[in-house]
């Protein structure tokens, strides 16, 4: 029998993973007393289940490092929470990606402008996947009237917008205060996660 703690499932779902790998085991003597899910890598939805034995269970069941995967970092989730994050703020990336991809072709239904192109869709998808295990909350996904997709993140009065255009530009707009003008930066895809983390830190 494989033991699966519902609390653990809630953690996984709250963390937005659809790619859960159960590295637990079977026990002939009893269920483990505690399980929890920890993200093993900040940019991928890969989890290991950390299972500790109960006093009644004679066997210890431990997660093994996943072959070919990042080594689990059991402190990451705690560190994200210490930074003001809650598990609800780690967003369900697959839903976000589905929404992004939904704007391709006929999914863009404004009578103005053009649908987001393949490069914009792929780039925004990649950025969303890089960010899904960060402490950012789920972004708004907005198609741009002249082609492209925006991801809009907000927290505590701060707003950051990542615009990925059909012209293959990525622009980060940061707004800390509605009284001050926003700041604009042309950025590389691989810098977006770091810049957003710094802005919302």
């Amino acid at each position: 029998m494989t033991y699966f703690d519902p609390t653990c499932l809630q953690d996984i779902r709250a963390a937005g993973s659809s790619n859960v790998e159960y590295a637990g085991s079977q026990s002939a003597a009893g269920a483990p007393s505690a399980t929890r899910a920890v993200p093993t890598h900040a940019t991928h939805s890969v989890f290991a289940l950390v299972v500790t034995k109960s006093s009644a269970a004679p066997r210890n069941i431990e997660a093994q490092p996943l072959q070919g995967r990042a080594v689990p970092d059991p402190t990451l989730h705690d560190r994200l929470r210490e930074n003001g994050s809650t598990s609800n703020e780690i967003f369900p990336v697959d839903a976000v990606v589905a929404r992004i991809r939904g704007f391709a072709g006929n999914g863009y239904r404004s009578s103005y402008g053009v649908a987001p192109g393949e490069w914009a869709i792929d780039t925004v998808t990649s950025i969303a996947r890089m960010l899904c295990n960060s402490s950012l909350s789920e972004p708004r996904v907005v198609p741009m009237a002249d082609g492209g997709i925006s991801l809009v993140f907000s927290r505590a009065g701060r707003v950051a917008r990542v615009d990925v255009t059909n012209e293959e530009d990525i622009v980060l707009t940061k707004r800390s205060n509605t009284e001050l003008p926003p700041e604009y930066f042309e950025v590389a895809r691989d810098d977006v996660a770091r810049l957003l983390s710094e802005f919302f830190a």
């Binding site: 404004s110 009578s111 198609p143 809009v152 622009v171 707009t173 926003p182």
Partner: protein, 147 residues
Amino acid sequence: MPKQEGTTPFQETEALYRRLIEDWVGEDGAVDPAAIEVPQCSVDRALLATPEQALARCNDAEVAIATTTFGALPDRFVAEPIPTQPVQPKPYELIVVFVPEKQNAAHSHIEVRQEGSAEPRKPKSVMKQRIRDEVAATMRVTHRKPP
């Protein structure tokens, strides 16, 4: 106030209407900058269309009308100077152009042009986003389709 072109002048208080899909409707009547096309953003002018007529032109995904006025639009955008370049880029201007269509007599464009040019021109990425932000900031969601 921006410049203008066309046979029938825009008055400073004349309203301009733009149709919005739900994704462009922000909180408290704000308009998302993604609703703004650069370098040509289609609008309907109030001289020849009511907001209700503009709303009636919405397709099934468009749910609301945003309104600005000709006089509220920004007129000029100057890029940050680039110290290493001896010749700085020319500023961009907004021009509102009346371009009636057979199906829409009120159709007009908010165009972005480089100063001195007669043609619309798409600026580089950061300037483009700044123009979107500033134009969207003049708009409010004023009319919505009934639920």
